[in-house]
Symmetry: C2
Subunit: 288 residues, 2 copies
């Protein structure tokens, strides 16, 4: 089966487990947050690294990939709340709080975080010792001191170190995606770490560029939010041309960080494809 089908199936099965008997509007809000998805780049990375590592426990790799995507979706739901970005749109349609109200957006986010860990638990009985490592890897990437919640919380501090802010808010889950891919296959994650770090940085710079240079229509969510909310932005700091150059350089570094392995050509392709989706090449040429 194609990786993208495995991901959608794992997410569907996770959501179905949370739906039967659930308050119907909560179930609908959770589904709205997860389907239809964005690029699913984090779970695709996770499965790609599992494949490159032998993928000898594919159901566990799928659970890890789904868990990471559920946590990503949960963070978007809470990030869109009125007290944060107050974003009425996401992925080209109403954000969860816009469609279901603020209370269900808080609860859907909470329930998706929990579902991420429950999804891991459900598939882990065959390799419990791998679960211990996956649980540590994935939880570290989303809480405090260095995960997504901490990253968003740096926005509530009077001053913040930009690198820590980006590393927590965006980088940590990319590192977790590559690490979990290797761990789900019972393989050593250390050689993959640099790839996750470079991709996380590239993704954050791309996000900054897109926030400044796009319209709401391109993004499927409100643009120009960083200036509006006084958030640090790479374009603000470097100028557009240098930010684009930095993105291009980080993608090159990410590709170079792929260890020699059976799946390296497939991984290079995945990363270049995703880079082109984030910042099209004609844009890079135009900005340079």
């Amino acid at each position: 089966m194609e990786a993208s089908d495995r991901i959608e199936q794992a997410l569907t099965s996770a959501l179905e487990g949370a739906e039967a008997g659930s308050p119907p509007r909560l179930a609908a809000a959770m589904r709205h947050a997860v389907f239809p998805g964005g690029a699913r780049i984090r779970p695709r990375l996770c499965l790609a690294i599992a494949a490159a590592s032998g993928d000898n426990e594919p159901a566990l790799a799928e659970a890890a990939a789904a868990s990471i995507e559920l946590l990503h979706c949960a963070s978007l739901v809470h990030d869109d709340l009125p007290c944060f970005d107050n974003a009425a749109t996401r992925r080209g349609r109403a954000s969860v709080h816009q469609a279901f109200g603020e209370r269900l957006a808080v609860l859907a986010g909470d329930a998706l975080i929990v579902l991420a860990f429950e999804t891991l638990a459900k598939r882990a009985a065959l390799a419990p010792e791998r679960l211990v490592r996956l649980l540590a890897t994935i939880s570290r990437a989303v809480g405090a001191p260095n995960g997504i919640a901490a990253g968003q919380a740096w926005e509530c501090e009077p001053t913040a170190d930009l690198a820590s802010y980006h590393r927590s808010k965006t980088g940590a889950l990319f590192v977790a995606a590559v690490t979990a891919g290797a761990e789900a296959a019972g393989s050593n994650p250390v050689p993959w770490r640099a790839l996750g770090e470079r991709l996380g940085e590239a993704y954050q710079v791309a996000d900054d560029i897109r926030d400044v240079a796009s319209t709401e229509l391109d993004l499927g969510k409100p643009a120009q939010k960083d200036v509006e909310l006084g958030r640090p932005n790479a374009v603000d700091q470097l100028g557009l041309a240098s930010a684009v150059e930095r993105f291009d350089d980080l993608v090159f570094k990410a590709v170079s960080a792929i260890p020699r392995c059976a799946g390296s050509s497939m991984l290079r392709h995945l990363i270049r494809q995703e880079a082109a989706r984030l910042i099209p090449e004609q844009f890079i040429r135009r900005a340079a």
Copy 2:
């Protein structure tokens, strides 16, 4: 060491792990949510059942107890948010959103949920097969379809079955506390389930009675919230005298549900003590 010291120590150590390098206000908000605690009844139950089951992996039982209490605290932080109860006080002082703002209250709740699972992962390397069961037990109690998030989400539905609402919002975590206590000790949790269910029901009825019959000063949080928010309340449905009788009956049933074991006398004592704290006996006599 006393159970209460073991609990505070496990919670302290969990929080410390989340603090070093964390955004300082997030760390402070998380600590505010957890210390000083309430009665810590769920983790005390968890440790009591682990003790009655042999407690041959005490560090794991402590991690399970801490995990359950962290999830309880997280649910209170989100429940107090302006879009839910809009409660300015909790445990006799400012609620988290009152003290730190709404954004940090959302994030502190999220980070506490994650920390609960991370705390389990940290102590589970010695008994990974028990981790699989604990993770399933604890995650089921706090998400959807039957955990705390689902319970709170029933408040967002036009109609709700009162029993499902209470079972999810309050009962599920009591059942998880007794189940996890047995599982952390590698023991069969089934004989403990009825105790968790009765206690969860008793606790919900007590909460309803206290909401109606107390003042903010007694509760340490706003009283009369159920009427204000149009939430179902046992006193509303049964009258005060019958609700108190129901509470007393549920406590009796909980005590009767304790399986014959080495720790049964200690458990009976714990439950009676907690019942007296919730609804003092003179109040029961007065209402009867």
